[in-house]
Symmetry: C2
């Protein structure tokens, strides 16, 4: 073993650096934090933080901030809800929303909040179930075992259980959540201040956003009581202060093999960006038709612009020569270590080439996969409803462990909440989106493709889109509920054109998904497991897994950085907001902030940056000090954080937060939100 030592040290030198890491709560490096910052979180501290954190099922993070189920998150995390509660005459996106009384709190359609209550290790069960299996057999066995574990754990509708694949298959943990589906809007500022600077300022710093909102979880029609929640720091974030972020980073690709990274660089990222860019051009022009067109499409536009900018940054990291060379060298080191020992070579040596072959398969099937299955409908709500309905008839009649994963018993409450959502559907936008989808489908697969011929017949994409949207009755939640509850018989009898449309190519769509799962995903999973085990053997578990939209804890400090030779200070102040305002969107302040200016302490810190390692999905995460007191709320990363998908570079990567003092100053002097301030224990201020 001694001969291994120098190599191990060499290898390990590259693994845990700086403030890097989105750590799991059951493998948090307290000693490392102690050595860097003089404070070691203990088990009790970790448990309290875990139970005070929250996840928004749609893709955000949040925190409990009162014993009465009050939850803090970003405005952009509740944007869907605010939009859905709005009408052309009463647009809360423009006016903001503040419930002066409990009665005024309004239920969000299709909103789910989860609180992680328990983590258990199920690695042994899962790997035993798939032992010696490959391809379809591997996938079926794994899916069956996961469904079994999840169902056994989810003993009530308000318990949600997910088996989480960590270290790309090196470890399987069962995460048990408390599920809240009655979530009501308490406070949301005007979007003009929440997203001040819009797309141009997105992912940038210095920054001036009041991107905060409050909702409340209810149980049996009453505010839920919670034991664990965050208190507020008296001062808020200070320069150089140790800060923690507990949140749900959606996904990272730091453990991908080089073959997988090349696929990302050359196919996945650019092609997704072509799609987003075109959709973006479409939406920009759609909005030029008038204010109502703008209102109904702003939500989609925000999502598209946000993804576009994030993926541009990601792509730039991958085409960076030095960055890529580092990834290549890291992989080569591990492969050399594996190959240096015949037994290890036999166990792990083929894993990289197997993944490379699966990636070639993916490359060859990617366009059909994207346009028939993954991006089918291009975001049309009506299409999505129809597809869930069509598939529910087939899937729900199967045994739990054989279903597509979104139809398993453990996922059903979320599926049904989405399907029965009373959120409005906008026909003009649906037409535009479906027209875009059908045009791309024909363009990418070609007019002679049998699916395209079957779907379009002799119609133009736009004509078909119009016909589908005007003919379907699926915009009504009641109609959807009846069809769903009527099951295969009711669905089979329905001649709804959107259902017929989905049915017209569902067989082909399911076939390509199956092929993907069997020939790509299962191969990557199985061989990813092998690489993960090789990595554990070489480095131990002194490393963190790729993000998986599950609860993680990162540590860091409030600290500026250098960009293109300029020093960027860690804080902005409210004064800067007024200097930046131009009076024109997206730099136009709402009336409330214009009127409040004389009352505000303009030196109050507004936004700040810290070295905490975060990524998309962390939006809404609490950022707190060593006493677990809120010092702000994470709402973004800077441009340098975008490459964080593939690796963490502390010299440029920063998370961006609203400062707790800025939040309170706004609640007090702009919104006069007394009820809320009192609940936050800040009633005496102002």
């Amino acid at each position: 073993m001694t001969r291994l030592l120098p190599l191990l040290i060499l290898l390990a030198a590259g693994s845990a650096r700086a403030d890097e890491g989105m750590w799991t709560f059951n493998n948090f490096p307290s000693d490392l934090v102690k050595s860097r910052y003089g404070f070691a979180p203990n088990a009790e501290w970790l448990k309290r933080v875990q139970l005070s954190a929250a996840r928004i099922a749609g893709g955000c993070s949040a925190s409990f901030v009162s014993p009465n189920g009050l939850v803090m998150t970003n405005h952009h995390c509740v944007r869907d809800c605010v939009q859905q509660l709005s009408t052309p005459r009463n647009d809360f996106i423009v006016k903001g929303f503040s419930a002066a009384t409990a009665q005024q709190e309004r239920q969000c359609p299709a909103f789910e909040i989860n609180r992680l209550v328990e983590i258990s290790d199920v690695t042994e069960q899962v790997t035993k179930a798939t032992q010696g299996k490959e391809g379809a057999a591997f996938r079926d066995a794994q899916r069956a075992e996961l469904a079994r574990l999840e169902k056994a754990c989810a003993t009530a509708p308000d318990i949600r259980c997910d088996v989480v694949t960590l270290y790309r298959g090196g470890m399987y943990n069962l995460y048990k959540y408390q599920r809240f589906q009655d979530v009501r809007l308490v406070f949301a500022p005007e979007e003009a201040i929440a997203f001040f600077g819009g797309d141009p300022d997105n992912f940038e710093f210095p920054r001036y956003d009041y991107d905060v909102a409050f909702v409340r979880v209810y149980q049996d029609g009453k505010p839920a009581k919670v034991e664990n929640y965050f208190r507020w720091s008296a001062q808020g974030a200070q320069a150089g202060e140790l800060t923690f972020v507990a949140g749900h980073p959606g996904g990272t690709s730091r453990l991908l093999t080089v073959a997988q990274l090349i696929y990302q660089r050359d196919y996945a990222l650019p092609e997704r960006l072509f799609q987003l860019a075109q959709l973006r051009g479409m939406l920009d022009e759609f909005q030029q038709r008038g204010p109502e067109y703008t209102r109904i499409s702003n939500n989609l536009k925000f999502g598209v612009e946000n993804s576009y900018k994030a993926l541009v940054g990601r792509r730039e990291a991958l085409v960076d020569r030095d960055f890529f060379a580092k990834k290549v060298a890291e992989e080569q080191k591990l492969r050399d270590w594996v190959n240096a020992n015949p037994e290890r070579q036999k166990r792990y040596g083929q894993a990289w080439d197997n993944i490379a072959r699966a990636t070639d398969t993916l490359r060859d099937m990617r366009l059909r996969g994207r346009w028939l299955e993954q991006s089918a409908g291009a975001g049309s709500d009506l299409f999505n409803y129809a597809r869930v309905l069509v598939r529910s008839a087939q899937e729900l009649s199967k045994p739990n462990e054989q279903r597509l994963e979104e139809f398993t018993e453990a996922r059903k409450p979320e599926l049904e909440q989405q399907l029965f959502s009373p959120a409005p559907v906008y026909p003009k936008l649906e037409e535009a989106v479906l027209g875009f989808y059908l045009t791309k489908l024909r363009e990418v697969l070609g007019p002679d493709d049998p699916v395209v011929k079957k779907v379009l017949g002799k119609q133009s994409p736009q004509a078909l889109a119009r016909k589908l949207v005007s003919g379907t009755r699926l915009a009504s939640p009641q109609v959807r509920r009846q069809l769903y509850q009527g099951g295969a018989a009711a669905l089979g009898a329905s001649k709804d054109p959107m259902l017929e449309f989905v049915r017209s190519f569902d067989e082909e769509a399911r076939a390509i998904r199956k092929r993907y799962e069997e020939e790509v995903e299962s191969v990557s999973d199985k061989n990813g497991e092998l690489i993960a085990r090789a990595r554990f053997e070489a480095y131990g578990t002194s490393t963190y897994p790729d993000a998986t939209f599950t609860l993680r804890l990162s540590f860091g400090q409030v600290k500026g950085y250098t960009e293109e030779g300029r020093q960027v200070e860690p804080f902005t102040r409210i004064a800067g907001l007024y200097e930046r305002a131009t009076g024109e969107d997206p730099f136009r302040l709402p009336p409330s902030w214009l009127q409040a200016k004389p009352r505000l302490d303009l030196q109050t810190p507004f936004n700040f940056v810290s070295t905490n390692d975060i990524i998309g999905g962390n939006s809404g995460s609490p950022i707190f000090n060593k006493d677990a007191e809120i010092v702000g709320i994470v709402f973004d990363g800077n441009i340098g954080s975008l490459g964080g998908e593939y690796g963490f570079d502390e010299s440029v990567n920063r998370s961006v937060s609203v400062h707790s003092q800025g939040i309170l100053e706004g609640l007090r002097k702009v919104y006069n939100a007394r009820r809320l301030l009192e609940e936050l224990g800040q009633g005496g201020g102002g």
Copy 2:
């Protein structure tokens, strides 16, 4: 020398393959054609073909087809003109255009046709002028020498002279053209048949397009007399027949270094595609507003879609692992050969690294370069007029050899024709395009960039675009002419908002262009020359230069190919057109073709493919047999031709042409175009 032989053979093996090559007329491989096809073009044959070919300055090819200045090209090459002659009530794009008499032939605004009359070698003069110079000095000396040579050659306004850089600097030739600026439309079919299948069928085969049009060049108000022109083949293209294409391929990148190819793959191509995709989405939605919006934007939309599809194909060639590996190996071979000899190493060895460094500089400045200079205005006509005016005031007062190249005396006739063009300007489209441009400018450079701040001030991109378009008077050709003729004084006095807008960042735009020319272009040119010389030393001149939008001759044969395992036949027939028609755009036939169906011989060949090596710019090229008789007209390449930018693969690369019999059948039985048929020597037919 004998020691070199095996290496030379090895090297040469990879250079002239199959039917590859866009050959210059003064270095045509007649022996190679003889050995493959049993026919060797002689000097007289070559001269006759050269003088019968024509170039459309806007970016197409064409041919003389009668002694009275009749010129054949593609419909899509005269689309601009057809559109500009149209009005909402009289839309020749929809109805087609056919001049029954000479008097009905209508002058195209801003159309220039060139005929190559003479080629002379000026390599010695140019390399002597730049000897021992680098960077700005190299560039200034080269520019001065080129301007001098061109001016000395262009002795009259109807003589156009261009020094052409061949083999990326290995050779400089002076091309002398006869210039025709009075060009009149004679015949154009409906776009619905010229571009049947639209974007979905673009770059595809089998294909059914009647993409042909005729114009006539005039001199002193009368049809120009020409001695050399193409006659028509009695049969048209036959399977397996030897075919030639004489045309003006716009540009290829087959001699780029690997560093330059990586730049194309990772930056230039994807980023240009992001831009095109967004513009495309914008235009698609713009057209949804109504038929007049469609009419005024179709020209731009065609260009955007065409570029998009072409660049997607190009990018796919570069991300192909095997293809790229071949380029790397080719470069390595030449570098090894250079490095094998100390003297050669000293002479050429640094060239690749120097280009790589210049490419890094380009990478770092690319976004400012693109958005301030290269793509400034994003295609707005008003912006372009304003920029030409602003710069003309400065440039025209300088000595010829110090001007930006588009302002040199040799280029002035083209510049002025464009500037004074009576083509209509469409304010709604201008607003949309400028709004797009300003939004991208702010997005890419950031709202804090000094140029962005100066340009936008506190205005939104859309508001500024509207203000510029509604406030400017530059839509009037008279106003532009007055300002241009008034020179610096008139321009300086004008407060036209579009002029002010251009002026507001012209200094920065010119500075970045200067930096590009001095630090990127001149370094690539100088070192490209070195590599070209090394290549000549290794391979001789048995190779062809990259395309440069100058006259080239390619040879090949009518031949099908295999695509995804299916055999694609070389011909389509008129019958297939009717089978493919759906009645919906872009598969909707115009009334003329629907009515003519009973009269047509449905077995007439319509489109066909051949192995001739072509690329964008070759559109409109005559394709002819060994007797120099027209057998068709090139209008496209297939999907496999798109990688032709970087290398020729005969197994998949095909040019796509309208068959001469198909052209005549249409003229006779659909359009009854007797006058035209008689002029083509086909009066007796039908």
